[in-house]
Symmetry: C2
Subunit: 131 residues, 2 copies
């Protein structure tokens, strides 16, 4: 399988797959002509990485997850800890964004949005919030 086909099957851009090889996430074989030659195992790994990335895991998380995946003597506790930490990060990020959303939505709602210059959004950004 050449890169374009494995890219289509894994749902990843070819560029991304070359990048994953560069950083050592995958090690596809090479044909005589120098082309990368992907087998079923490579495809499987790439799909795995793609799904992990889709859940927001970092590349280093993916590396660790792959290592655990390939370690038949792993403890599921290790996987759970990794995923749990990531879940916590996601929840923190959601909370942060929701706080932004609340503030911003309040400002936007207060703004007339007409052709006059008075604007509670700019006032809100301008004021120190201590008064």
């Amino acid at each position: 399988m050449n890169i374009k086909e494995v890219a289509a099957r894994a749902g990843l851009p070819a560029k991304t797959i070359r990048y994953y090889e560069e950083i050592g996430l995958i090690r596809p074989a090479r044909s005589e002509n120098g082309y990368r030659s992907f087998g079923a195992a490579d495809l499987h790994k790439l799909a795995f990485i793609g799904r992990a990335r889709g859940l927001g895991f970092t590349i280093e998380d993916c590396r660790a997850l792959l290592a655990l995946y390939e370690d038949r003597e792993r403890a599921s506790a290790d996987v759970k800890a990794l995923a749990g930490a990531h879940l916590t990060r996601i929840e923190a990020k959601i909370a942060e964004l929701q706080a932004m959303k609340r503030t911003l939505a309040g400002l936007v709602a207060a703004c007339a949005g007409d052709d006059r210059p008075d604007c509670p959004i700019l006032s809100g950004l301008s004021e120190s919030g201590c008064d």
Copy 2:
């Protein structure tokens, strides 16, 4: 006011303030010795930027917001449009993170988290989800 003081008052790292000057967000005066010399207006601008950044606006958004802030003939509709677009982006990001959270929480909940290798998290990442 030297950079350290304005940094403390604006609640931004000095490095960040130098960066903001480099990209043209602010133009502090210079003392004879070459040190940046910040006035009240600079501090006010930096605090404005800091708050906008805190609400998740990009630097380019901040540039536009500052321009609107300093334009006495602005239309509040322009500000509202900018903020509204940002609000939409935030909401989309929250939805994306919540989808991740749901999937991930399901996997984590299904994982025993003991010393055995069986792990629904790894299985979930490994499977194509079509079955």
